[in-house]
Symmetry: C2
């Protein structure tokens, strides 16, 4: 296994991405505090560049390459926020980004990646096709692969959100994040374990995609098989790096139902007046489901805000 | 006519509401700047208490009453954000709030006002019924009437948003707000005329409710008759105070179509990742329609975020 990122890596990432990434605001709501029975501090990565925390990790990876290696470009396969984030980071550095996307990826995702100037290669919508296509692209270009989460540079970058949160809010008892592949959760854990070891790190995960919870229980990575959830950023399995960190430092992973996710998402929209994607709401849902019971001051990381505004889970057609 | 509020009144209001109101953030978006061809600075009153700038004026009015007068309570007739704002300000001061609402007001509005502990009297949905019912309530209680906009204390309170915006952003060339009854626009004008007289003050108004634009053109108040617009916060006519200020200090009022309002609202949701009501979007729509042409740095006041999430103007039913 490659070596795990440390708090020094997180600090280095923070310095590296500072000129490019937003220091996102922390919002609060008296009415949400009342509902939760605790003071909640929402770290709004929905306001991050590209609309998600993913830019932190992708930017750190891109900016840490030597000029010689960087010149050959970066590459990844992704149908989501990581692809857009990597494309933007590469554009900022002035190097090529090669993105392998399944042909059935949503049009809005394709458009976002294309808008940042990435070179897109489409493939069949299977993991095998994605990996073999990526291998061909790398063979042809010499580009460096930046994995969406199982990469120490990416994990260190994601850990900078918790660094800012601890800096902005004193006396936290717990921090809760969503977990998919585990980049955000493990980055948060690295930061918190080093700087505020008494702060509990907890994650929320959709019950329909609860491979991380089962992995933690089994003591080994349980792959995600046929996950079904509205939280489309949380479908992936843990990697060896993220699993190693999460096993060591995370107190627990709470599975939440689709109804709980939608309810939490709607609360955030209504009370905080901000737009978050379902994956973000999983963190609040976990807190409301008792995942941070006993904590009086809870940091909640809202992972992103890239949602299709046409199809809201509670909407009906408009009429005047 | 009662005397017009001055910048000293705005400064006094700022001090008076400071312990209670939020100093709302100013957000920016590189992609919206590109679309507008100018640097836009969004003053987000959608994050204000009660979800709208209305809390500034209501709070200033409530906090400026003597203890003796305050003890008899405050009263208004409103079906919108002002009622909720007045109810909250009264609750903070610990005095009664009497709100006259049309019986057909939206359930969500009734619930919001009731949640802040106001005493609600329902009446027929006509202006005559609202005014006569309010008169009875005042006769019975001795409460002080706080008009939603044609009140110097309210106008001065609304002017504090521009005070904060000028403080937060240097070198503005123009500020654009929506206009309904004119409280926000006239408060903004009082502040800007005194502190930054070279900054142009411009308003957006729905074409289907463009009485303020016509009033400015006619040189006298033209009442709003049967207004039809999605921007339900902008249906009212100007009052003598707001008209007097607007005639003196406002450069122009731009009428925008329903399509332009919905397009601007969607841009704000998508690019700023925040929830605003249609009335807020009227300000951006006016800027995009050329209302601030020539200005390189434009302040845009987003008036509120209280929108029915069930019925978005662009939504279709959700399906997985």
């Amino acid at each position: 296994m490659k070596s795990l990122p440390t708090i020094d890596d997180v600090r280095a990432a923070a310095a590296r991405i500072a000129p490019h990434a937003h220091r996102t605001p922390v919002l609060t709501s008296a009415s949400l505090d009342e509902i939760a029975g605790a003071a909640l501090f929402f770290k709004c990565e929905s306001f991050q560049r590209c609309g998600a925390f993913k830019f932190r990790g992708a930017c750190n990876a891109v900016m840490s390459l030597s000029d010689e290696v960087a010149a050959r470009g970066v590459a990844t396969h992704s149908s989501g926020n990581h692809a857009a984030a990597l494309a933007l980071a590469a554009r900022i550095r002035g190097i090529p980004a090669h993105v392998v996307m399944p042909a059935n990826a949503k049009a809005v995702k394709k458009a976002a990646v294309a808008a940042y100037g990435a070179d897109i290669t489409f493939c069949e919508p299977t993991l095998a096709a994605r990996e073999s296509t990526l291998a061909s692209v790398v063979a042809a270009t010499g580009a460096s692969v930046v994995h969406p989460y199982n990469d120490a540079r990416v994990i260190a970058g994601q850990g900078t959100a918790a660094l800012e949160l601890l800096d902005a809010v004193s006396g936290l008892d717990a921090i809760v994040t969503p977990v998919g592949g585990g980049g955000l959760l493990s980055g948060t854990a690295v930061t918190v374990a080093a700087l505020a070891p008494l702060v509990r790190v907890v994650a929320g995960e959709p019950a329909g995609a609860d491979d991380a919870r089962r992995s933690l229980a089994a003591g080994t990575i349980v792959p995600s098989v046929d996950p079904v959830t509205i939280a489309d950023g949380l479908l992936t399995s843990l990697g060896d790096l993220t699993f190693a960190i999460i096993s060591r430092h995370v107190e627990g992973i709470v599975a939440v139902s689709e109804d709980e996710i939608i309810h939490a998402m709607r609360l955030i929209w209504e009370r905080l007046k901000i737009i978050v994607e379902p994956s973000s709401a999983v963190a609040l849902a976990a807190a409301l489901a008792g995942g941070t019971a006993g904590a009086r001051r809870v940091g909640v990381v809202l992972s992103g805000g890239n949602v299709d505004l046409e199809t809201l889970p509670w909407s009906r057609p408009f009429s005047t």
